[in-house]
Each structure stands twice: as C-alpha cells, then as structure tokens.
C-alpha cells in the first residue's frame, strides 16, 4: 500500500476539524446548512485568496443532498456555480470532490451512493466550464460523517459532496 506522508495526513485532519466546526453551527436541513456554510458572502481579510480557507469561508465547499438522493438542489447548484467561478479565478487549483452519506444505509450501498454524489458535483462543475482534469472524485460512503450525532440534522449535514483543494498548481 502507498504510505502517505505525515504532512499530508495532518493537512487532511486539520481540514476535517475545520469542517466539523463549520458544520456544527448550522442546524436544520440541507439547504439551510448549505447557506450557512457560505458565510453570507462576507469576506475575511486574513484569508489567503485561492486557499481552502478562502473556498470554505467565501464560496462554500459543501453541497447537500436529500435522503438517498444525488440530484442537485437549486442551492447546491448555486454553491457549485460559485465554486466554478472560484476555480476559474484560480486556474492552478485542483480539487477533490468527496461524496458522503448519512448512517441510515448499508456500507456498500452508501459507498456507491457517495460516488454518485461526488460525480453529480463534478459533472455540474464541468458543465460550468471547469476543466475536468482539475477535478477528482472519491466516495467515503457513510464512513466519514462530519457530524457524529444520530439526528435528522446530523444526517442532513452528512449527505454531502465536499470540495477540497488538493493542489495549488506547480
């Protein structure tokens, strides 16, 4: 198996902790959560433009799905439109789209469902003119919930496609 560098691992852990903190602020429903994550378009002065932090705070790095669904809601499409604008603004950035599911399904089916969600986000970004070579997908199924609780609110947050910057150009 490939051994990932410890630097990379720390980076991912850091992002996940950040994501969890973000998510816990929102409470009801996928669409509300999506809006909450975009932070109302308020720009923070301390954020490096084109960074993951920039993406999360000023664009929105997550789109949310209904139960056992992988279709993009108008809110999800709006968030992805902003992601597409972001990616056009920073053409050296590549991202990974990771599909996630709530815990109310079996492991194997949810791995497949997560792949559909990541692909739905990827295909929409491509349709908006983002070069597909900058986009990769991965499914985490129900294995990586951002909200560990077993509530409707948590499940709404955990049904998502999360966009993560994996490369800021050569």
């Amino acid at each position: 198996m490939n051994v990932k560098s410890s630097m990379k691992l720390i980076g991912v852990v850091g992002l996940m902790a950040l994501a969890a903190a973000c998510a816990s602020k929102s409470s009801t429903g996928p669409d509300v959560a999506a809006t909450g994550n975009t932070n109302g378009g308020v720009t923070s002065g301390a954020v490096t433009p084109g960074s993951q932090e920039d993406l999360e705070q000023n664009v929105g790095h997550r789109v949310f799905f209904g139960y056992d669904q992988y279709s993009l809601s108008p809110q999800a499409q709006a968030t992805l439109q902003k992601q597409a604008d972001f990616l056009k603004q920073y053409p050296s950035v590549s991202v990974q789209l990771s599909g996630n599911c709530d815990e109310r399904g079996t492991r194997e089916y949810n791995l497949a469902l997560g792949a559909r969600r990541a692909e739905a986000a990827r295909a929409y970004l491509v349709s908006l003119g983002v070069d597909s070579s900058r986009l990769t997908t991965v499914s985490y199924g129900k294995e990586r919930p951002i909200d560990p609780r077993s509530t409707e609110d948590a499940w709404s947050l955990n049904r998502n496609s999360t966009t993560t910057i994996v490369n800021v150009g050569a």
Binding site: K4, G105, Y109, L111, L113, A115, E119, V138, P148, S150
Partner: protein, 437 residues
C-alpha cells in the same frame, strides 16, 4: 503474521457407531427446540498429566455447546459419578439422576512426541449407548482447536449437521471518534479467543472483509483519503497483501465465489457502480451488469449458477438474482422498505439480507425465488449478515440505539438464540470463515 500451522489429526474412531434408531437427536430446523441437557465432566488428565489442561478444554467445549442454544450444560457440581477413565463405561443411572440426556466423557494425555491427545466419547445416557467416539492429536498450544473439534463432534453426533465451532471470524475493529474513525482488520476464533489485528489502520480504513472459501485469504476494501477505495487480497498466514487490479474508479463490495477462484465486486465508473467478476489466476475482469442504477453487494450461489446483488434500478434498493453470466436479472424482494447486502447461504436454500424499513434495520432470510421471507432480528441498525459454514447460524453487526457503537451478534436461522459476540471494543462487518483445515 504467522499463524500456527494447523495440525490436528483426526485419529481413528475407536469404537463402532451404534445403531441409528437409538440415537437421541436434535432437530435444529424446528423453531422451538428445548435445549438438550448435557453433562461435560472435566476431561481426565491421564497419569495426572496436565490436569489444568483437561479443565481448560472442558471449559471451551461447554461454552461452545452452551452458546449454540441447542444444549444446556448441567452444572458440574451436580455430577454424581467421578469418571476415572474414558474407556470405562459410565454408571448411566448416576447421569440420569441429574437429568442428563447426553454425557461427553474425555481424557487428555501427553504423547511421547510432546503433543497432546484428546479422546472423547459421547454417551446416550438413556439408551446406555455410545453415540460416537473420536480422538485428536495436536501440539499442546493448539488445545483450544482440539476442544472446538470435540464440540463440533458432539454437535454433529446430536444434530446430524456439521458443527461450526472450529472456525474463525474476521471483522472490523473500530476505534476513535466517528468523524475520524480508525478501522482495522481483526481476526479471532469463533468464540472470541485469539484476537489478532491484521492491519495498522494508519493510511486507510479497512471495510467489508470476506474469507476465501478455500484458502487462508481475505478480500476487503481499503478506503483512502485521497483516491478512490480499492479491493485488496490479504494473506492471513504471511500478512502479504495486494491490490486486486488497478482501476481509476472505486472498487468495493468484494466477495469470493464459492470455488475460491474468482472475486465478485462492484466497480464504479463515472459515478455509476456495476457488478464485475475477476478471475484470480489471470486477473481477467468480466462485466456482469450494465445498468444506470447502482448494482452492488454481489454474492454467488454455492452451485456457481446464480448471483444475487443489490440494485436501485427500480427506484429503491432491492435484491435481484441473475444467472452467473449476468443474464436474466430478476427482482426477488417486494416487501416495503429497502433490501440490501444479500448473502447466499452455504446450503444454497436461502439468501440472508439487511432490510431497512421505517427507521429500523432487520436481518432476514428469503428463498432465492423470492418466497418465504422471514425477519430474524431488528434494531436501530442491524447490518451485514454472514453465514456460519453449516448455514444454521448468522452473525451480523448492530448499533443497538442511536449513537451506540457497533458490536457483533449472532442469531440462529430460526430467529432464536440472539447473542452478543464477545470482542474487544467496537466491531463491525463480521465474516465467518469456512471450516478450518
């Protein structure tokens, strides 16, 4: 990891079997079996050799028989006769008086080559007849397996079916917070003894392990952070592993075919998952489904002629059965809710599944033609059944309530005898081994 070489020799049965008519017998297909009262005095240490070992072996046998739900082991303190040799006929009246139906008498001796020999006779206390006798030789540190072999012998003597005590379970050992869980492969004996971690869990989460039916090998899925998860083969004896093919998309839900020569799995391409089969010798990949719906969790019938799988092609997850070449898929589940994770019984007569309905999860069984559905368990989350090799017992994992960690459970095919399986910590995705060689 090196496993001890499996070195039990079944010695000759040393007394001829009695006539079949006289036998006490348990019909394990009946839904309400009264557990059979069995006496198991401590195995005699011949020439005072290894007295503690006789007691340890007896403890393992008693626990196996008790856990099966088919036997009730009578408290040793009630026993009247003290056996002095396995070759002396017991005083049957002494065993009848404590209401035993069956007496398991045994002794253990050390052999000149440093091994141990465990000899056992199974007696019908009412007909005063021997039901069977058997002897095993094994390295001394392998005594637990000898005890399981004895329990299997007792089980077969009284039910007519193969036992499942000398088997192992591979499963996922889970630690850490839900958002950042470590998931490692772990293996243990069927009774929870000899737990060993097989993977370190540092760079990936291990999921959905399955035993090879023919070799000391596991297939499982490794879930990575930064690339799609992939199916791996893991050699239990050497610890070596290899990725099963190199694919851009995710591969998952692996399961060996019953002859052990191929692995069925799902592969995802462009977001859609279909069922494929890989021949292990040639690594030749064959597509079996080509449908815009999700097709996953493939399982082959023991005769190799059919494959069951989960698909949402009809709108929600249901179980389908198709021919082994992928032709003629036919939906077999029509109840309310969602049906997933079909697993074909080693006997071929039933398919076990996970059913999701109105916020609850169930483990159930159904005939491959779609008839005779029966639900065996229910909880907040019951998922992922696996069959004991004799097709009479199922193991699965359960989260008993929202937020509860997963644990392993077993249940009889009759829905009786639901028991938690002892494991160190949170556990999921159990897979039962075939009978050990």
């Amino acid at each position: 990891m090196k496993q001890a070489i499996l070195a039990i020799l079944a010695a000759a049965v040393f007394v001829a079997a009695p006539s079949a008519q006289a036998r006490v017998r348990i019909d394990i297909t009946q839904a309400n079996v009264e557990p059979m009262p069995v006496a198991v005095p401590d195995f005699i240490g011949v020439d005072n050799q290894a007295p503690g070992l006789g007691r340890d072996i007896t403890g393992v046998i008693m626990a196996d028989l008790d856990r099966s739900g088919l036997f009730s082991v009578i408290d040793q303190r009630a026993y009247v006769e003290k056996l002095t040799s396995v070759d002396v006929r017991p005083r049957f009246a002494d065993w009848r008086i404590i209401n035993a139906q069956v007496l398991v008498a045994g002794e253990v001796r050390q052999t000149p080559d440093g091994r141990i020999e465990v000899a056992t006779r199974v007696w019908d206390v009412y007909s005063n007849e021997q039901l069977g006798a058997v002897s095993f030789k094994t390295p001394a540190d392998n005594w637990r397996r000898a005890a399981h072999k004895v329990a299997d012998f007792v089980y077969k003597s009284l039910t007519g079916e193969e036992g499942y005590f000398d088997t192992r379970i591979v499963y996922i050992h889970e630690t850490g917070p839900k958002e950042k869980r470590t998931k490692r492969l772990m293996i243990m004996d069927q009774d929870g003894a000899n737990s060993v971690l097989l993977t370190d869990g540092l760079n990936y989460q291990a999921l959905t392990p399955r035993f090879s039916p023919t070799q000391q090998q596991i297939t499982y899925m490794a879930l990575f952070d930064n690339r799609p998860g992939q199916v791996y083969l893991f050699n239990i004896e050497t610890g070596e592993q290899e990725q099963l093919g190199t694919f851009r998309g995710m591969t998952f839900a692996p399961r060996f075919t019953p002859d052990g020569t191929r692995v069925l799995m799902s592969m995802e391409r462009g977001g859609n998952s279909d069922v494929f089969m890989m021949e292990l010798a040639t690594r030749r990949l064959t597509r079996l489904t080509d449908n815009p719906g999700i097709d996953t969790s493939p399982t082959m019938s023991p005769d190799g002629r059919r494959i069951g799988f989960t698909s949402d092609r009809g709108g929600t997850e249901q179980i389908y059965v198709m021919n082994a070449d992928g032709s003629a898929p036919k939906r077999i589940t029509f109840g309310e809710g969602r049906y997933q994770t079909p697993v074909w019984s080693p006997r071929g007569d039933l398919v076990a599944f996970t059913r999701q309905y109105q916020g609850r999860f169930y483990i159930g069984v159904i005939r491959p033609d779609g008839g005779g559905e029966r639900l065996l368990t229910e909880s907040y989350l019951d998922e992922g059944p696996t069959w004991a090799p004799n097709g009479r017992v199922l193991m699965f994992f359960r989260e008993a309530s929202p937020g509860a960690g997963p644990s392993l459970w077993s249940v009889d095919l009759t829905g009786r005898n639901l028991r938690r399986v002892r494991t160190p910590g949170d556990s999921s995705d159990p897979a039962w081994s075939p009978p050990l060689p």
